[in-house]
């Protein structure tokens, strides 16, 4: 990867072997097109004001389409600079399965939602839990196992993670 990290968050992504793109909401569809490997599926991000445009992705797939996809594109509600972690909500549009089943996960995060460290992330979570019980996953890098005698990436979860950082949000 030739791109140099500009932020702590990106440096952490690099340490865990993930890649990233910095872009704006306008150029979102182009960034997605570049980041995915087809076939790709995505959760609907129109509530974020984001349009997949002519990016070759199936938005709101069926479970079968999900199983057949190589890439899953979802939003992340939070990024954590220190470890490059992403908070993925277990919502009704399917962020959990779309971020989990395909081999490649492309996560979209607003730069303003990137917090410094775990304590800061938990402050935010504390506020959210104060409103009611929540379900979400902190995902840090690709899925991995050492159970077969050596470290292997890509087990039940993705083998590779790419993050699209929206700098205007």
């Amino acid at each position: 990867m030739a791109v140099q990290p500009q932020t702590e968050f990106e440096a952490a992504l690099r340490r865990q072997g993930s890649s990233w793109t910095r872009t704006t909401s306008d150029a979102f569809a182009a960034a997605v097109t570049e980041a995915i490997e087809t076939p790709a599926v995505a959760t609907d991000l129109s509530d974020w004001g984001l349009d997949f445009g002519d990016a070759p992705v199936t938005v709101d797939p069926t479970p079968r389409e999900l199983l057949g996809a190589t890439t899953g594109v979802t939003g992340a509600s939070l990024g954590v600079s220190s470890y490059g972690s992403l908070l993925l909500p277990s919502d009704a549009k399917g962020t959990e399965p779309v971020s989990l089943y395909p081999e490649r996960h492309v996560a979209v995060v607003s730069e303003s939602d990137v917090v410094e460290d775990v304590p800061a992330a938990f402050d935010r979570l504390g506020d959210e839990f104060a409103e009611g019980p929540k379900s979400a996953v902190f995902a840090t890098g690709p899925s991995a196992t050492g159970d077969m005698g050596a470290l292997v990436y890509g087990v039940h979860g993705p083998k590779a993670v790419h993050v699209i950082v929206l700098t205007d949000r």
Binding site: L66, L67, Y83, A92, P119, A144, G146, A150, H156
Partner: protein, 735 residues
């Protein structure tokens, strides 16, 4: 075969079959863990915070159980509090039957192992698939997990390949870790997609919100929990903490302690039933239109199974703080060599298994492996929630001792002036009363040495006391340290000229066996302007404590304090040669003495080179000590000395005196007091010592130096040349 022989044979078998994989894996995890701890600034702060949360949560457990019942029910799920394994299994089977579930996918859960849930459900005709790859391997192999975190840690890639190739009908044989992983993933994906129900454990349960927290690296718990529309989470009641507010320190600690990662790959927080769409792979409906919460069923099964009684047990309660990271197992030299199949009970493995198994299964199960804990304390600093794991092992050993039937006591009667009940193991009483043995041995030396080493005596000792005949016995000196000291007319530094005054603690080894190091210590202290006294002080209690003889150790602690209190009050420093005795004063006496007595003694006691270091720092003339002159040495620090953080002082002093010091990276010599003498453990002890031997054998020119009595004995057995204590290298009179 005798019990000792059976035990020795079991250990020998594991050394041959499982050691290599376990040692490689634990060594790797330890290295990663040290690095991960070092780069985390808030490490100690987080440990304290996590500890405080657990103490509070266990204290308030009944209240948290009620709270989680309310919150889960408010969310739309069900809570079942199971008294024991049978109760939990019966309930889960009912849930399965109500849903007509035929197949079930599971993510890793030690608590379900404890319940034997898989066996129970399989007997009821349900197909159960473990989706954690390590659990999957042991399920296919029909073996028990050998480690809390890595169930298949005892298997190499080649062994797993052999297993899979024999078990599955494959077109091409599997070989590499990647091939094996990919095969298991694809195989299990089909099972997950078909499954009628998912079962997970829980690393934490948040009472306020009814949230299950799962820590995984593979993503299998995520899939198992949300793909099927029914989810059963099984957790011991001790997993409850109040709310998300208290969770943060654990998330920073658990993966660090377990595998040396900064943060878990996946930290899942589920407050079921979740909104996430259920996945019906046959329905042609987009995710957003699939049923989510409305269609989901969730059961939280909280398991007691002995935990309430553990909570009420002042000594076992701490066990409930355990977050099952496995660091205590990884840090343990014996575990690194035999793994959890020897060092473990029905379910749990490693040092803390003693607490779990004693509380859940009972003393008999704990007794099968409890002796593998040598009390070295290497796990103490490793534990993210600061559990005193060696203490739990000691207390359980004490209880086991008290449960044994009385026989043969008369044989050691005269040698064992202890406070223990009749009936405990003869071997343990013998080692626990080493001071009396040493006193007698020294008084009758050299005759006692000749007799003890004669063939017939060794045979008798092996049969009655279980002392392995291959092990050299200590050679008692006729002239004890105290006799020598008195004969030379006491301290050569008159009190009036002295900068400081110190009591040299003549432990039984220094006094009766390794007298040279005692003499050297006296001369070194005097060379630095210290007026030295060598009064008669009782044995510290280390020997009986290591055999689980807590009452005897408690009496010794009082006697030692009684004998030293006046010296401490008079402003004299207490200098200790043997690190395991200093560790008594600094660690275990906290449990055996009143707080103020403990503080007074521990604050005024020093390991001998720690003391020398302090004297030099405060301006004493280093030139008065022997000059190393660039001589090369290989130094092995003692386990308890490392735990107390005192290895660096010895290295610094030797370095300052011009020695070229190479320190061992291997932490344990394998001897551990009486452990290496015992017939059932002799071979394991030598096997562990083999690591240190290979490290030092690569530097044949270096003189071997060690701080601990046991380490010196073990190194003497491993190498031909004699081994010295570092203080002997500083002795101005050294020849």
């Amino acid at each position: 075969m005798s019990d000792a022989r059976l035990k020795a044979a079991e250990i020998r078998h594991l050394l041959e079959t499982e050691r290599d994989a376990i040692r490689e894996n634990t060594t790797h995890m330890n290295r990663e863990r040290y690095d991960a701890a070092a780069r985390f600034e808030r490490y100690e702060e987080a440990r304290d915070a996590a500890r405080a949360v657990k103490e509070d949560a266990i204290e308030r457990l009944p209240e948290l159980i009620e709270r989680v019942r309310e919150s889960v029910e408010a969310n739309g799920g069900t809570v079942y509090l199971a008294d024991d394994a049978a109760d939990a299994n019966r309930y889960i089977e009912e849930v399965v039957r109500d849903r007509d579930a035929e197949t079930l996918v599971k993510s890793k859960s030690m608590t379900t192992e404890e319940l034997d849930l898989n066996e129970h459900l399989e007997a009821a005709g349900v197909d159960v698939y473990e989706t954690d790859l390590g659990e999957f391997v042991v399920q296919v192999a029909d073996e028990a997990p050998s480690h809390l975190v890595g169930p298949s840690l005892h298997k190499s890639t080649a062994a797993i390949a052999e297993l899979f190739n024999a078990h599955f009908d494959l077109d091409e044989p599997l070989e590499t870790a990647t091939e094996l992983t990919n095969f298991a993933r694809d195989y299990l994906l089909e099972r997950i997609v078909e499954a009628d129900m998912g079962v997970t454990g829980a690393n934490f349960v948040l009472a306020d919100s009814g949230t299950i927290v799962l820590v995984t690296n593979e993503g299998n718990a995520r899939k198992s929990a949300v793909t099927p529309d029914a989810h059963v989470a099984v957790a011991g009641v001790e997993k409850l903490i109040p709310s998300v507010e208290e969770l943060e320190p654990f998330t920073e600690l658990i993966a660090r302690a377990a595998t040396g990662q900064d943060y878990p790959q996946y930290l899942t927080m589920l407050s079921p039933p979740v909104d996430s769409p259920t996945l019906d792979f046959d329905a042609d409906v987009p995710l957003s239109e699939a049923a989510g919460e409305s269609d989901r069923e969730f059961h939280l099964v909280l398991v007691d199974n002995g935990r309430t009684a553990m909570r009420e047990d002042d000594q076992l309660r701490e066990t409930l703080y355990c977050i099952r990271c496995g660091a205590c197992a990884n840090s343990c030299a014996n575990f690194q060599h035999v793994g959890g199949h020897a060092f473990g009970g029905e379910t749990y493995t490693g040092g803390i298994a003693t607490g779990w198994e004693a509380g859940i299964e009972g003393l008999d199960t704990a007794a099968e492996f409890n002796d593998l804990c040598t009390g070295c304390t290497r796990c103490v600093n490793a534990c993210p929630v600061k559990i005193d794991i060696p203490w739990i092992n000691t207390v359980v050993r004490d209880r086991i001792n008290r449960g044994e039937d009385a026989e043969l006591d008369w044989l050691v009667e005269g040698l064992t002036p202890d406070a223990e009940p009749g009936g405990m193991s003869l071997q343990k009483r013998f080692f626990g009363n080493f001071e009396t043995v040493a006193k007698l041995g020294s008084a009758t030396a050299p005759l006692s040495n000749w007799i003890a080493n004669a063939g017939p005596a060794r045979g008798l000792m092996e049969r009655t006391l279980g002392i392995d005949r291959r092990r050299d016995l200590p050679t008692f000196e006729r002239e004890t340290l105290r006799k020598w000291f008195d004969a030379r007319g006491g301290s050569r530094v008159p009190l009036a000229d002295a900068d400081r005054e110190a009591v040299l603690y003549a432990d039984p080894y220094t006094n009766y066996v390794q007298v040279d190091r005692g003499r050297a210590a006296v001369r070194v202290l005097e060379a630095l302007g210290v007026h030295v006294r060598v009064p008669e002080i009782p044995e510290s209690g280390r020997a009986p404590l290591s055999q689980g003889m807590v009452a005897t150790a408690d009496e010794r602690a009082s006697a030692v304090y009684g004998a030293l209190a006046e010296h401490v009050d008079a402003g004299r420093d207490v200098v200790v040669v043997e690190p395991s005795d200093l560790a008594m004063f600094r660690r275990e006496y906290e449990k055996l003495l009143p707080e103020r007595s403990y503080e007074r003694l521990s604050e005024n006691s020093y390991e001998v080179l720690e003391y020398v270091y302090g004297l030099l720092e405060n301006g004493a003339d280093a030139g008065a000590l022997a000059d190393g002159d660039g001589r090369t040495i290989a130094y092995h620090s003692h386990c308890q000395q490392r735990t107390l953080g005192l290895d660096a002082h010895t290295e610094a002093v030797l370095d300052a005196r011009g020695y070229d010091v190479l320190s061992s990276t291997v932490e344990c010599c394998g001897m551990a007091g009486s452990f290496g003498y015992k017939a059932e453990y002799y071979e394991l002890s030598m096997d562990v010592g083999g690591d240190l031997k290979s490290e030092f054998a690569a530097h044949p020119d270096r003189e071997i130096v060690a701080s601990g009595t046991s380490c010196l004995e073990q190194l003497d057995a491993l190498f031909d040349e004699g081994t010295r204590h570092p203080v002997e290298l500083l002795d101005p009179k050294r020849t």
